[in-house]
Symmetry: none
Subunit: 532 residues, 2 copies
Amino acid sequence: MTAEPDDSFHVFDTTLRDGAQREGINLTVADKLTIARHLDDFGVGFIEGGWPGANPRDTEFFARAAMELDLKTATLVAFGATRRAGGKAADDPQVQALLDSGAPVITLVAKSHDRHVELALRTTLEENLAMVGDTVSHLVAQGRRVFVDCEHFFDGYKANAAYATQVVRTAHEAGASVVVLCDTNGGMLPAQVQAVTGLVLADTGARLGIHAQDDTGCAVANTLAAVDAGATHVQCTANGYGERVGNSNLFPVVAALELKHGRRVLPEGALGEMTRISHAIAEVVNLPPSTHQPYVGVSAFAHKAGLHASAIKVDPDLYQHIDPEMVGNTMRMLVSDMAGRASIELKGRELGIDLGEDRELVGRVVARVKERELKGYTYEAADASFALLLQAEINGRPQRYFRTESWRVITEDRPDGTHANEATVKMWAKGERIVATAEGNGPVNALDRALLSALERIYPKLAEFALVDYKVRILEGTSGTDSTTRVLITTTDGEAEWSTVGVADNVIAASWQALDDAYAYGLLRAGLEPQE
Amino acid sequence: MTAEPDDSFHVFDTTLRDGAQREGINLTVADKLTIARHLDDFGVGFIEGGWPGANPRDTEFFARAAMELDLKTATLVAFGATRRAGGKAADDPQVQALLDSGAPVITLVAKSHDRHVELALRTTLEENLAMVGDTVSHLVAQGRRVFVDCEHFFDGYKANAAYATQVVRTAHEAGASVVVLCDTNGGMLPAQVQAVTGLVLADTGARLGIHAQDDTGCAVANTLAAVDAGATHVQCTANGYGERVGNSNLFPVVAALELKHGRRVLPEGALGEMTRISHAIAEVVNLPPSTHQPYVGVSAFAHKAGLHASAIKVDPDLYQHIDPEMVGNTMRMLVSDMAGRASIELKGRELGIDLGEDRELVGRVVARVKERELKGYTYEAADASFALLLQAEINGRPQRYFRTESWRVITEDRPDGTHANEATVKMWAKGERIVATAEGNGPVNALDRALLSALERIYPKLAEFALVDYKVRILEGTSGTDSTTRVLITTTDGEAEWSTVGVADNVIAASWQALDDAYAYGLLRAGLEPQE
């Protein structure tokens, strides 16, 4: 830890503890250390690492964190429970494990809902207060800073406001530096959170925090409502990971505090790293980053409507609530049939091609895009096919590296229930005719392998390409298997990804077009000279 | 439309207009009609269908809606703009197209931000007011109900409150029945929305609505904040689809109004259909339903076994903010526990089969559905495949009309650019072996025709079946053309429609399974006796 940071407002992250409760997340100790480094880079004040003693992985995390983590701004926090009923905090092994973790800050979860004390904890309301007071004062006496999470606080307040408030008061008087009001079941709405937080603050004088779950879709708003009412400590998780629907999402919360409230809660420059850090954490937990996440999603500043595009050219501020660069994101123009000249020009600029001067060329491209979109092509999700179309219009003809004479694919279901897929392609490249055959686990996979087999001697670069996504959409819902089929393919060369589109009366032919574009764009991107 | 419904609170859906702005959504007219039926089943008050006149697809939608849609609770709404500057509403072709659409309600978008009037609309502030007043009164005089969307209202109010308020007053005085305050750029937080809505209501006395975008992650809360301040009309989209991050999500908004505010805004029983309808609409737009969507996500009531598990057994209310059945969802204790007994029983009942008495049978069906869903099958959108599964469990073996020995399909791209698709099937039916070959315009179409050709002599009924929809989804996005493929097929016999599912490592084999189920269910439905 560096010199004592500003303690007036806490950004407290619990991705590693509560966030890990999300269905589908299963973190190794190495994952947790990596995420902690990202969170520290982002500049959060506190990182709750887990519950030492509750499971070996969390115990190991704190042991390794002490050795391996060199945190710049964040303080590590251990999570645990108040002592058992009828015992003493000083003799409680679970409490001792919290001290043994070496974490300078400890968050204690405490019951504050009378029914939970009776039904889940199976003790008396008085003993629960004693457990809170005893555990807090013991840990404080051992030199630790203590935060108390009042579980089910808002439901508890509704059921028995006097008791819930008494739990807060007890924690505060025993020396807890923050008492956190938790909407554990996530059922609250902002107006309720704001009212209750204000009342508890007035009643107890304790420093209050907020921990919101997203079950009503209002976790971010609930967090901000508590801040409006005087809370100065927000508990969040990266990308809103958490049990059920999830927790209050760290990124829109800090963005609102910094950009809307004008309150500095992160180190200088950190907000501009937000998009990168959000995506990096998604990679570690192995979930695809949400494309529509506020501020950091790839769609968060994507504009589709042609109506807006001309005005955006005049002044992007008219159609964006913030400058995307403030959060490390970028504006994107989607090319769709609602698009006009303005969005084609902006899209070209995005691809590094300035079309602004050549009105006639832009007109040709707009006409070509409209003509293709009428047939079912879509360029908003197929940048690489759009780039090839643009190049063809600029050069007067397509940039070609190879030409298809014909292809054939056979898919067979055998009496034993297995399938065979065999593709043959006849291609021309650099004046040479090549015939190749390959098998695959589906017809498109067989075609892909045959194409690669035909061309890789001539273009060794092709061996680096790999298909990473394949989407199929049937465009007309009224004629069943007679319909037009659109295929979108995403390809990578290990560095970048690009997407291509194919449209045909059948799924195989549409896939072939998208594959053809995918390979052609990869070669163009690699800087190779086109030649059939 | 039935008898005049309660007009005191409007649930206004704009999935078909503003929701379609979401990146990746591209709706056909048939898709829009299907979604409108789902929204009407859900009981929304208004369905905004698009902008007639702005593009041929929306014009066609209104023409077909007038013929084909028989709405129970909803009223269809056409969206459009105020008249051009310097003209007259009565002479404006865009305004005339709104009237021509035949929609009984028209939403007009109007500028209310002074800078947008000057920079985007390029007219004077006075002329903009005239455009609003003239267009509203013209449409009202033509017998239409008019809602006015004040675009960029909250940003406009911040810049020039007097002018923004004047736009509301002008619309109101010209006869608009609702004036909708729009957070078009989505940058607002609930406290601001609530304060401004309250001020405008006090200043103008107009009936107010709210249209919120989710760029701060607060669209649902912003919508509810406006309602707290007196708005009685909420504009939302199914699953929060919309431009950039999205729109205010219809489902958590109505759930909060009904379950938290205690305000009845949907017909009796509709809320219990929410999960089903959310997922069905996701299928139509061909986006995977969000697993973590509040209320309706499959994870929304999923509890990781652990701390909470035993307490949930004692009393689930302790750990859930609502009973999931209120919104048609289910509590889940296990990660793979997608299908609960209750939903199986309900689906059985839906198909006319009461499973309620036979606990053991229901258990077997639940186990079978879970096993199949683990492989990628989905029965939410494939009732006919589910009915066949149910019949197989009731009878102890599948009901079979025919059996496949093997099939083969060849797709060929010829040097002249045409495609040939030829399928051969080897089938057994009523003790007879039949080999048939057919061509089609795609491999699945060729298989479909070969199957029909093989069996129609034995089952003449088959000639009445027609495929009406065909959807493909790749289930694992990380291995390109190697992935598992799911196909959903909808078939009709001219009276009813039914949907079937197939899952396999390639699109042709998955399509074959879905075709097989489609024909088998059609024969079952026709009351024919099964016999291979």
